[in-house]
Amino acid sequence: MIPEIGHFALIIALCLAIVQGIFPILGAQLNIRPWMTMARPVAQGQFVFLAIAFGCLVYAFVNDDFSVLYTASHSNSLLPTQYKVAGVWGGHEGSLLLWALMLGLWTFLVTLFSKNLPDEMVARVIGVLGLIGVGFLLFMLLTSNPFERLLPAAPDGRDLNPLLQDFGLIIHPPMLYMGYVGFSVAFAFAISALLGGRLDAAWARWSRPWTIVAWCFLTGGIALGSWWAYYELGWGGWWFWDPVENASVMPWFVGTALIHSLVVTEKRGGFKSWTVLLAIIAFSLSLLGTFLVRSGVITSVHAFATDPERGTFILAFLFIVVVSSLLLFAWRAPKVGLGGKFELVSKETMLLVNNVILTVIASAVLLGTIYPIIIETLSSIGIIAATNKVSVGAPYFNATFVPLLVPLVFLVGMGPMARWKKADMPDMVRQLRWAFVASAIVAVAVPFLMGGWSWLAALGMVMAAWIVTTAFHGLKHRFNATHPELPWGHRLKAIPMSFYGMHLAHIGVAVAIIGGTLVSNYQSDKDVRMDIGDTVDVGGYTFRFDGVIATKGPNYTANQGMIRVLQDGHELMTLRPEKRIYTVQTMPMTEAAIDTNVWRDLYVSLGEPVSGGAWSVRVYHKPFVVWLWAGAFLMLLGGVLAITDKRYRVMARRESKAKAETAMASPKIAAEKA
């Protein structure tokens, strides 16, 4: 019964989404007020029914209802409850439902926090979100219904993939999806600007916080995914340039460009068309990511069993979204105007270059990711000679990403200091010369401290130090220029939150660069065969293998290795890596044992039993690896600080006042003013 309620709720949500996608947009175009005002209640209703559907699926998982096909194939009665709940999004159908629920949630939030926006704008934004919802709900109901029954019911479930039975999976997909789907709000704002012909500083100020929140979620989601792969896959890597990872990082790069382009649109009224285009691209790449992950067109170490038919649907949906929004863009963009003029050396130029570089990075990643599909398609329709399947290796991505990162990071230091319209180059050089000297010293010193010269390490360190030193210089500069007559506490408070947020996020980039550079250049690892009592030295630590004992978990049996870590003859700790066999699928799983501190990770995982109690063992010493994720966390925190900026609240108050005053006048005024 409960699954049928869920199924029915999904159908109602689809009907509401259709209404939500048609009437408010038409109402805004034809100026029919009742059609516009229905946007909010309909969207809220859609969210309620999506929540009911989602709740029903959670209920089926928690109560072991194996008459539901999806539950039977992704859960098991022995599965611990928290993983039953996470299992809801452990497979294709459930993750789509999560996608739809997130979209509903974002739309719901838009209905709550849009009191100060013009009615036509709200109607259009909610309408566009409704159309996206129609696409996804149709997809789910036609090809991937999570509530499909299995008759007769299975006696027990096939279990959740053991790799996914982990804390990381509980939070990683929801966070990533909040980011992916969040860009749909930026997209909806962009489309509504094109439809209404209104694209001004106020528009940028409305869409900025939404874009930043989505970006924060995406940042967190990517970092969690990388962390999960690091400790769960048992081979100690943290980024593989795998198609599925690329799918999440492409919208991130474009989203980062969008955040910066929105600054120019808000402060200077510039880059308008470009900002709109970026919003369209960011969301299209999110959809492309869904297509890549869900269609299985590319071999990926992350690929799960997939169904090509479903890929066709997403591809068609992607095609409709991209083509229609680009057509709309081509038709309406000339109307939104270009914005103010600026000199060659100015903040605008630097942000423009920032945008170009980020877009080029995203394009290079895109090319490498879909190159195998392009070649295959071209050869199958006979444009190029038939060829074997190809794949693009990780070195390609490193070889393009790192050289592009260098000028980008250089601009991270310069940009915040530069003035709008026309920057004073000699003055900037004078101000930043000490930052440059300090960075150079750090770049030379750190490689020697770490135990060996490496050009790449020096390059990474100079970039990181440049960001940090210029950020502190910028803070000091701003502090000195802010109300010198006030006590310093007040002066710190007078600096806007968004300024702190920006520098914190930039410092996050530096911290992540430090982590990535040092771990890639100075990690040491050994794959060894160890008999009981054998020792191996890695990274200044001695690891002694003391054998393996058998243990048992709720739904697995395991061999637990005992590896004592010694330094200078003192025993520091015992690491207990496991080799688990999950009983339902008899699937083996390596569970690494990791000891983390600020300076290094010690990482041990078990390979195979060899003979007579000996095992093959993998031992890593990874300096500074945790800085990678700490950096991502700082970026996220920077984003959060930025949206707490007063000016969004002040603006909200001012807008609502202005709106009350003009409420009597014709509703078209706002559009005409733009």
């Binding site: 081979w235 071999t299 069993a305 490498g368 399947k389 390609y396 083996p588 799983m589």
Partner: protein, 157 residues
């Protein structure tokens, strides 16, 4: 500088930047493409001799052997038509099993043994890498075609 000159500067700088980036990207792409070959193609000498490529198929049942160091593994992959021996030193991914599909990346070494640097794991036991599925199907079709040819005697292959 006049406005027109300034605009020219923008355009020239922009084009130069994009050209540099494009060169960078295309060179990197050129040197990092790995082609996929099936065991049949490797046996037929179609695979490159001194370039990294990918080889995939099913792990032949009973072929996995470990050396005494516990780390060097020998196994065979097959597309049910031909067999290629692979040597790999290191710890294999969790889901490496006899009879399952794998993709290995490396170079062809002496005596036709494929020296793998990397054996690709997968996350899900029901997942079959598309290349492997493709190779199996091709070998199957070829066999069927050959069977037909031998039954109707014509020119040899």
């Amino acid at each position: 500088m006049k406005a027109r000159h300034k605009r020219m500067m923008f355009i020239v700088l922009g084009l130069a930047g994009v050209a540099v980036a494009a060169t960078l990207v295309l060179t990197a792409l050129q040197s990092n493409i790995n082609h996929f070959f099936s065991p049949t193609e490797v046996v037929a000498n179609q695979a490159p001799k001194d370039r990294t490529f990918r080889l995939g198929g099913l792990v032949e049942v009973g072929s996995v052997k470990r050396e005494d160091d516990g780390l060097t593994v020998h196994f065979n992959v097959t597309d049910n038509a031909e067999v290629v021996a692979i040597k790999f030193t290191g710890i294999l991914p969790d889901l490496f099993q006899e009879g399952q599909g794998v993709v290995a990346q490396g170079k062809l070494g002496t005596g036709g043994v494929f020296q793998a640097d990397e054996v690709l794991a997968k996350h899900d036991e029901t997942y079959m890498p598309p290349e492997v599925a493709d190779a199996l199907e091709k070998a199957d079709q070829q066999k069927a075609a050959e069977a037909q040819q031998t039954s109707t005697p014509q020119e040899g292959i």
